[in-house]
Symmetry: C2
Subunit: 209 residues, 2 copies
């Protein structure tokens, strides 16, 4: 299988397949037809067949999909067979909410440290015991520790200041909650969660249906 042939749209749908396949495994279901998966996921069976054909066409007529195999393969595509060390910049409510989200750790995303500007927070720990460091120590921390992902739960200006420090010290993934786009060098990935924009999309839907 050649990953490069998989379109961005399919990739964006993979986490949802992964979630549903995980639910099926939790229920002890070993195989499922595209028709049944289609009903549960509320997408067309032909969409499912098209999407999952990228992963080797192991849906067989009269058998359906092998749930565990598909779950494992999609997990590998998404990089979930590896662990990722994640730091969180901004130990406010959102940062602490992310730091305590058990589900991330189950998927191999380990929150190893938080950073904050507020001197009162320094040296304290999150509910799960992760230490909050001064933001001024970010560079030296990155030199001494492997960090794959930095989540930015800080305002726009702070995010723009911190990003070059992160990328300059080898962080390859930025999970951006700030209300701005970020410019990063080639080889660095950014995934943004723009909450205001999500709320505006909801507002549009409410006002046009």
């Amino acid at each position: 299988m050649d990953n490069k042939e998989i379109s961005k749209a399919v990739i964006n749908r993979l986490p949802r397949y992964y979630r549903y396949l995980g639910l099926l495994m939790d229920q002890g279901i070993e195989r499922i037809s595209s028709g049944e998966l289609s009903r549960q996921m509320n997408v067309t069976a032909s969409q499912i067949r098209q999407d999952l054909n990228h992963f080797g066409g192991f849906g067989q007529q009269g058998y359906g999909y092998n749930v565990r195999y598909l779950y494992t393969e999609i997990g590998k595509i998404l990089g979930l067979d590896q662990t990722h060390n994640m730091i969180i910049i901004g130990a406010g409510r959102l940062g602490q909410a992310l730091a305590n989200y058990v589900r991330f750790e189950k998927r191999g995303f380990l929150v190893t440290a938080l950073f904050d500007r507020d001197p009162e927070a320094h040296g304290s720990r999150t509910e799960r015991g992760t230490v909050i460091h001064p933001l001024s120590e970010l560079g030296s921390y990155l030199d001494e520790n492997r960090v794959d992902i930095a989540a930015l739960t800080i305002p726009t200006e702070a995010a723009l200041e911190v990003t070059p420090i992160l990328t300059g010290h080898g962080v390859r993934g930025i999970w951006n909650f700030a209300h701005t786009d970020l410019e990063v060098p080639d080889g660095v990935a950014v995934q943004s969660v723009h909450l205001s924009e999500s709320l505006m999309q909801l507002s549009y839907k409410i006002n046009h249906q």
Copy 2:
């Protein structure tokens, strides 16, 4: 202008246009060419012309776009010329983070109440003074107060339980942070923020670039 002609893809891009046009207004910029907007937003000028043509084609050769007019029109399409009352179900860290997000209020989304199962939280207030109510009072609250949007910052099972109460009492928009899809009647809009899935998409990007 007929809103129904605007594709979902364009709608999904509107909040980002709105954000950039707001930044331009803050800088006192009254008009902008599609080329300059293209450079700032890092999308092609032809995409911008195509998208913004839906809103009356007021980009004029040699003049460019009138920033304030476009900002206002897009705001209307998104329903931001109206206020929306929003409640938050789940007064944990994420719920409280949303409740204290000043930007939402600027856009007309007013957080009027939070609800939580935890008796210790009842009657207490968020930093901004919004009261946290017992979840058992949700139905009667909805009968007595106009609520347009409910944000669900609770686990899957609780979200599935609460959703029919919300829709049964006339809530037309659900902003879903639970790790599940929600089934709702016609006329109710759901916008989901699946944080785990966003993180998986980042993981994919890191591992494939």
